[in-house]
């Protein structure tokens, strides 16, 4: 019932925004005690399905999304269910079809443009930034662009330099865009639904290696009205000694690192950023004010990256709370090599996160000892 109310109000109105953050109170049903598990793929597919069902102006376009059932099977079954007017296979022409998607959004539709990987979005980046991100501003609010650009981002496995880049920092740099990075199945469902309902252009960065991973989901998360707020991070694991921020696949690595650190007496708090733009500065700062130490983790190149921005956010708001320099773990500062051993060295590993967290914790050693 609340779900219907949310949809009628839409997320464009203040009341609509409020309704989105309300959790269903006394829902008249019993929840099964056993947690259900779904894959990220299933989560994304169900989110697309539900939002397309709820709003006829939502449509999906991209390469192989229809008859092929999706290059990674994310859009499986949607063509059969919604027909070729709403699930459109495009030629391999990113600049063209992205521009077409943005134009459709100008005229009131709600497109979901899929990039087979975000590496290919570079062919279309002018439309994402100049045609989508800036339009609401340039037109003084007349032309809003309720579009979602989604697809896998970052490194897969053994696909080489042109197919492995992370674009989180690039897109998060631009005012007018929202940039989301789901990790779990719950993230995938809640954030994609929020993105589709959002009236602004959203860059939705998935991860190919996470598609097949299963996560437990609550009954609430499986409900068709489920939505996660944009701009809010999630504390995946509470801790008190060091804060570790991460997004997408690196959240899993950070959690593994936290397990290892716990055995050595270090209690790490892991923040799943979920939203790179807007960045949840409040949550990050609150955590660092509690732990006094910070390790940022990302897959992308280090220079001008997400970690650099997070560090600055903490220096600006919570400098006096830091007991150690901020540590940064990122992808290696080289194009992604193909050879498996070099690729492993180019991508952050759990031990890198553990090492950095330990450095952040032992920094209280008097300077004389390190001279």
């Amino acid at each position: 019932m609340l779900g219907v109310a949310r949809r009628r109000l839409g997320s464009g109105t203040v009341l609509g925004q409020l309704m989105q953050t309300l959790r269903p109170a006394a829902a008249p049903r019993t929840y099964s005690a056993a947690a259900k598990e779904i894959t990220v793929r299933e989560a994304l597919n169900s989110a697309l399905d539900e939002e397309m069902s709820a709003d006829p102006s939502v449509f999906l376009m991209g390469e192989e999304v229809g008859e092929y059932q999706g290059a990674y099977k994310i859009s499986k079954g949607l063509l059969d269910k919604y027909g070729p007017d709403r699930v459109l296979d495009t030629p391999i022409t990113e600049a063209g079809f992205t521009g077409i998607g943005v134009g459709a959004a100008y005229h009131g539709l709600r497109p979901i443009v899929e990039f087979m990987t975000f590496n290919f979005s570079m062919q279309a980046i002018d439309h994402i930034i100049n045609s989508a991100a800036k339009s609401n501003y340039m037109s003084a609010g007349q032309i809003s662009v309720p579009i979602v650009f989604r697809g896998p981002n970052g490194a897969a496995a053994g696909v080489g330099a042109q197919h492995s880049q992370c674009y989180a920092a690039w897109y998060a740099h631009v005012p007018g865009l929202k940039v989301l990075t789901p990790y779990s199945a719950e993230d995938a469902r809640g954030l994609l639904k929020a993105a589709i309902r959002d009236p602004d252009p959203v860059v939705f960065l998935e991860n190919e290696l996470l598609y097949g991973e299963s996560f437990p989901v609550s009954a609430e998360a499986l409900d068709s009205s489920f939505c996660l707020p944009i701009g809010k991070a999630k504390i995946e694991r509470q801790g008190k000694d060091v804060t570790i921020t991460a997004f997408s696949k690196m959240v899993g690595y950070a959690l593994q690192a936290a397990d290892i650190l716990a055995k050595e007496g270090i209690s790490a708090e892991v923040i799943n950023l979920r939203s790179i733009r807007p960045l949840d500065r409040a949550a990050i700062n609150a955590s660092v004010r509690k732990t006094n130490r910070l390790v940022t983790v990302e897959e992308g190149f280090p220079q001008h990256g997400v970690g650099a921005e997070i560090c600055m956010a903490v220096v600006e708001d919570s400098f006096e709370y830091l007991d150690a320099p901020v540590e940064r773990i990122a992808g290696a500062d080289v194009p992604m090599p193909y050879a498996a051993n070099l690729e492993r060295m180019a991508v952050p590993q759990v031990e890198d996160i553990v090492r950095a967290a330990k450095r952040a914790c032992y920094r209280a050693v008097p300077m004389a000892a390190t001279a």
Partner: protein
């Protein structure tokens, strides 16, 4: 194609570059080693399957972004003309890439500046899982050059391909760009994760194999002209298979690249800047 041109002419293609590399003089061992990511690979294990190159034979790769190789190929042609080499460039692309806007931009400029660029559309009728009629309003790719002349060629007939390339080279060096459409086919799926059977029938695949396979056609020609006997060809095939197996075995023995290779070749001239691994305090290098 190679029979009609020289190693001074340039070739550039997309990611289906393994045989292009071999035809340009690349050896089996370095090809397999590259696929396995070994240091003996043609890109020393750093490029990978989609990024084979052989600069000394004017083979410029090996490109992963669909369509990008065509403007690059026109650029090669620009340099060839600029340096007065009297050579030409063959820029290969597929029917999937044929709709990319950058092709038309580069072709327009090539025509204006009379660059010796030959755009070769290897039309295998499918862009990954999408048949040509679902991606192109006009799948007559040889005509898509509009004001640039185009030839349609039976891409499964090796002699037709040779003649077409010879004609195209002479034309391009004298007059500017030309489009060749090679009518061909892809037996397997697009990549390792595509079975290749969800968007076409197995009958179609086997039909093409039976009727148009280029190697089988050459075999028939050889018999028809008494150039070799069936036994001789069988021996040749056995030899080739042995060579291939031996090359694979040899490639498997080559070691993976050394860890230091992570940081080599970022720049031609690094000015001594530092580069970093994931944990910059643990792994760093100075770029020469």
């Amino acid at each position: 194609m190679e029979a009609a041109i020289t190693r001074s002419d340039s070739i550039i293609t997309a990611y289906r570059d393994h045989c292009t590399y071999l035809a340009r003089g690349g050896d089996l061992v370095s090809a397999f080693a590259e696929l396995m990511g070994r240091e003996g690979g043609c890109s020393r294990g750093k490029g990978g399957s989609m990024h084979f190159y052989k600069k000394d034979a004017n083979f410029y790769g090996g490109h992963g972004i669909v369509g990008a190789q065509v403007p690059l190929g026109c650029g090669l042609a620009f340099a060839q003309k600029y340096k007065k080499e009297d050579t030409c460039t063959f820029a290969l692309y597929g029917d999937g890439a044929a709709n990319q806007g950058q092709l038309f931009e580069a072709l327009n400029i090539s025509a204006l500046w009379k660059l010796p660029a030959i755009l070769v559309c290897e039309n295998n009728h499918y862009g990954m899982g999408t048949a040509e009629w679902r991606a192109a309003k006009s799948p007559a790719y040889y005509k898509r050059g509009d004001y640039v002349p185009g030839l349609k060629v039976d891409g499964m007939d090796v002699l037709a391909v040779k003649q077409a390339c010879k004609f195209a080279k002479d034309h391009a060096v004298a007059n500017g760009p030309i489009v060749l459409e090679m009518d061909t086919y892809r037996y397997h799926g697009h990549s390792m994760s595509d079975p290749g059977s969800t968007y076409r029938t197995r009958d179609e695949i086997s039909g093409v194999r039976q009727e148009r396979d280029p190697i089988e056609r050459v075999r028939k020609l050889i018999y028809a002209h008494d150039l070799a006997t069936a036994a001789e060809l069988k021996d040749m095939e056995k030899e080739i298979r042995k060579d291939v197996d031996a090359a694979i075995a040899k490639a498997k023995e080559i070691s993976m690249p050394d860890a230091s290779e992570l940081f080599t070749n970022v720049y031609k001239k690094g000015f001594g800047v530092e580069s970093f691994g994931p944990d910059r305090k643990e792994m760093r290098a100075t770029l020469p």
